[in-house]
Symmetry: C2
């Protein structure tokens, strides 16, 4: 949950005067996203999400994120569409922060995804990868292999306070992934954070994707590996191969995987698990007790990582040959 900044009614009214959206009818701070302040806005023209970007989102990245949502929407993906003001700008300032408005998407995230959900997520991810082609702006993935080494350096001295032996296990895993990370896979724009929180469904049908604030350029199949981690494990950290099969088949219906992507899948899944393990670990060690942000358990990803370390091929994830 996150509303870090309060927006006074008078400042909001002044901000909205720059848009052709009519009068302000209501504005509610919502508990969505952990990086920024979000508000559900009702104006004459309809419902919108107003986001105030807090310091964890680099202002220099905002044209990439907002431009990407426009590009993906134009490509037929259902995602929030930034609203441009009278001057044609998608980015403004409110309450001393960069601010943008995007269209409101109906739908609910699912707590317990089943194989049908996973299949639709696979399809939507592939659609996003295709729709991302031709986007003019670039953003390297700061949370790829080099970034993991930096995160490990930050966390290693205190990692064993979370679980004895964790530092050594992470060091070995990082070395393995660094040594084998594939460099020749098809690349493009990836979502990089397509967890169940960021996918909406209506009546069991996927209705849209949100939260593109980790999007960047990277191997497309790495994005799929993130989704396998995020969607296809059970609460006890066992891998549900039926869900994996549905997700891989869904993805492949829209964008068939190349042989080198299939071959790399177990390693990509290890990298994805390591990435979330490391960011959660750093947050876990650095978040003060009682802070607003709910800390996520890094060890969930230590367990997932063990599954990936034992996987020998994409068949272990449910790929049908």
């Amino acid at each position: 949950m996150a509303v870090y900044t309060e927006v006074p009614d008078d400042e909001l009214a002044a901000f909205l005067a720059d848009y052709e959206l009519g009068d302000l009818l209501s504005c509610k701070g919502i508990a969505e996203g952990v990086e920024n302040s979000n508000f559900l806005l009702h104006v004459t023209a309809g419902h919108y999400i107003l986001t105030l970007y807090e310091k964890r989102t680099a202002e220099s990245d905002l044209p990439f994120f907002l431009g990407l949502m426009e590009h993906l929407s134009a490509g037929g993906l259902v995602c929030p569409l930034p609203v441009r003001n009278r001057a044609g700008a998608a980015l403004g300032r409110l309450a001393g922060r960069p601010a943008a408005m995007v269209t409101f998407l109906e739908g609910m995230s699912v707590r317990r995804p089943d194989a049908k959900h996973c299949g639709q997520v696979g399809e939507a991810l592939a659609r996003m990868h295709l729709a991302g082609a031709g986007f003019a702006l670039a953003r390297p993935n700061a949370l790829s292999v080099d970034g993991w080494a930096r995160l490990f350096a930050q966390a290693q001295a205190r990692a064993d306070s979370v679980q004895p032996g964790l530092a050594a296990a992470l060091r070995a895993e990082l070395a393995h992934v660094q040594a084998h990370w594939p460099q020749d896979l098809p690349r493009g724009i990836i979502h990089a954070d397509l967890f169940p929180d960021n996918v909406f469904f209506l009546g069991g049908v996927l209705s849209g994707l949100i939260d593109f604030y980790f999007a960047c350029e990277d191997a497309l199949a790495y994005d799929l590996a993130i989704c396998l981690n995020a969607w296809c494990f059970e609460g006890d950290s066992s891998f549900n191969v039926t869900k994996g099969m549905a997700m891989l088949a869904g993805y492949g219906r829209v964008r068939p995987l190349e042989a080198r992507e299939i071959e790399a899948l177990p390693l990509l899944a290890r990298g994805a698990a390591l990435r979330f393990l490391l960011t959660r670990l750093v947050d876990w060690l650095d978040t003060p007790v009682g802070a607003l942000v709910k800390k996520k358990d890094p060890l969930e990803y230590a367990k997932k990582l063990r599954f990936h370390q034992q996987a020998t091929s994409a068949v272990d994830y449910g790929l049908m040959r």
Copy 2:
């Protein structure tokens, strides 16, 4: 801000199946209220607020609060109207908590109320007092004089840690108010917490009142004294008599004050300031560092109290003779 409980999509869908509101389209936890968890719900039938009552709201009081909103709505006041389910009940259970849905009110609370806002609040408060007549359920005010003595007993040992001399000042004020508290004023249902957060405006026009979870039976003029405290002081704790005049005139247009109410006004204002000073002081002393709830400064009310102690009649609040 407050979302204490998360509502899983499947439990919410099951809860909504008991209502004739159609399909669930979206549900956002909102940062409103400090006592309960609130969600803005979009269903086929429209927008509603779903409230899950947390432990600070006594479950035995809920029929009073929900019944009161129905009674006031029926009396023409614009306030949230509880939605009854197929079984005719306004109160249900969700995620292990008592839960209710009410209609969504458009509007924004104002950060900097002016005299026009204050005049409308006075009118609306008087309308609420008239509309409350005939409500069948009773709820004594737990935060009246006897309650203040209990709060003082809780806080007195540590009060001087907030401001040296505060304990003695509170003891003297409590004794004065206890000795002079009027017992013969017109009584009825009061809102008891009609702060700017709880009043919505649209285009400068009052559009509704919310948050009846402190409502109770007490002297009607005491409710007005709370509003004078909540609306008519400036940021530097000076009393703005133009706002006071507008509020008193607005109230009087709808429900003329009786002579004994006018006479009691300075004392009622002292009592109201003491009440918020004491509850804020107890919260200040008891809230752990880093808790989700933003603590409100009790000393704001110590300053307001000093104004009331020097007031000699309702004229000091702007009452026109």
